[in-house]
Amino acid sequence: MAQLSNGHLLNAIQDKFGNAILGAEEPNGLLTLNINPEKLLELVRFLYNHEEFRFQFLTDICGAHFPDQKGAELASIYHLHSLENNMRIRIKCFLSADHPFVDSLTPVFSAANWQERETFDFYGIIFNGHPNLKRILNVDEMDYHPLRKEYPLEDQTRTDKNDSYFGR
């Protein structure tokens, strides 16, 4: 079977989704799409059910926080893998911190359950349609999302350490 190329895959997705694709790049050869969050579930279903692509393995879901991008501070990042074509794709949804809603992938992948809970726990991204969206690694009483950049690593009232000598 001929190796599926990024260009071919991108053309097929662009034909189907057109304006919903907000950007595409290939860092280190891995096709990375920036997609309108409203179309995420539809795109994942398309990739899952497509006869040729068959992206039926969810490798990873994680979040990221870009405080400088106003209106698109949060990102929900997905890695899908087509085991038959041995090809990966990365999908990013940028969300505003005021309205961090994106569709849950749990209807397609059972594996999404805990990974979305983890992303919610650390970044506060709300996954619509998730069956049990609550904190997973942190304590339930925590009232912030610790991996957002505004939360410092250590207690800032400490006086016994001066990190400025170390460029931190």
Binding site: D60, I136, L147
Partner: protein, 398 residues
Amino acid sequence: MEENRILAEDKKEYTTLNLGPTHPATHGIFQNVLTMDGEIIVDSEQTVGYIHRAFEKIAEHRPYYQITPLTDRLNYCSSPINNMGWHMTVEKLLGVQTPKRVDYMRVIIMELARIADHLVCNSVIGVDTGALTGFTYVFQWREKIYDIYESICGARLTTNIGRIGGMERDFTPEVIASIRSFLKEFPAVFDEFCRLLERNRIFMDRIVGTGAISAERALNYGFTGPNLRAAGVDYDVRVMNPYSSYQDFDFIIPVGTNGDTYDRFMVRQEEIRQSLRIIEQALNNLPEGKFFADVPEFFLPPKEEVYNNMEALIWHFKIVMGETDVPVGEVYHSVEGGNGELGYYLISDGGRAPFRLHFRRPCFIYYQAFPEMIKGSTLSDAIVVMSSMNVIAGELDA
């Protein structure tokens, strides 16, 4: 998952049983709240995160070489694989090509780690079914693997082995000799371990058919590693996306058919044999050459030069203080860890520390299938299923 919940429509009275968080049979800090009908599990819910140490947050504040010790503490049964995976991720971001000798040295260490990991997991399945003998017997050989780590890098459990760009030092003749003697003596011991368990009627009666999962469900749950292969899917990162020159070696990927505890056990058993083959090939064909790539920004210069050469001293200082900026980029790299695809997703904004680093921890992803796998089985089966899944608390909670 909602569909896992059974509602008590039949007015039966169920018992709620807390298995864990600290229970000697769970080998780590896991809490399972089980709803029991007599001895049968009708529902369960896991609580994870008891040893969460915020590695992803810490990693955003540490220079790259200081993240290796964090990876040690993910799957601490096979820390060298985690270390190598991290070095390779950074090398991919930097665009560094490592010499063949480095690749082969890494393969030897990673396969030793895989043997150690699988030995622990498989012998613990024996312990949980009442066969302590095999465990005490092979643990002695895990210690020998740790001795080899110790002679390579000075540490045993949390190894911090290798450096970005290569290995910290070359294999000494003693290291080669100890690996050779391991290759010579271990197979006989392992055969005895196999004879003890593989066709043992009592052991088979206990684990054949327990905790079975179909290939479709396993893929949907994001299973990787021996657990996925036991269900019959031949996905192995070493073959699908070869790293560190794995394409040079001849080895077989064992697959199971039923995805039950026995298949998981047998897949690991065969992988130990294949790992021995790989180590032997790598050792026999170990290329001559340098044990590090040419990356002065990350690979420490030799000590003699640091004392006698200005440039080397400057590099040494910059590396130790973590003053080197890394190019802007985004990279996902995965290795076949002891229990599945261990992935590193790294976003660099050009600073001295990662902007974002996410660990794809295989057991965090597949442990969520546990309620589905133990539903309808007995409590004693649930214990065996859990140990056969090779869930490591350090990796689960990161």
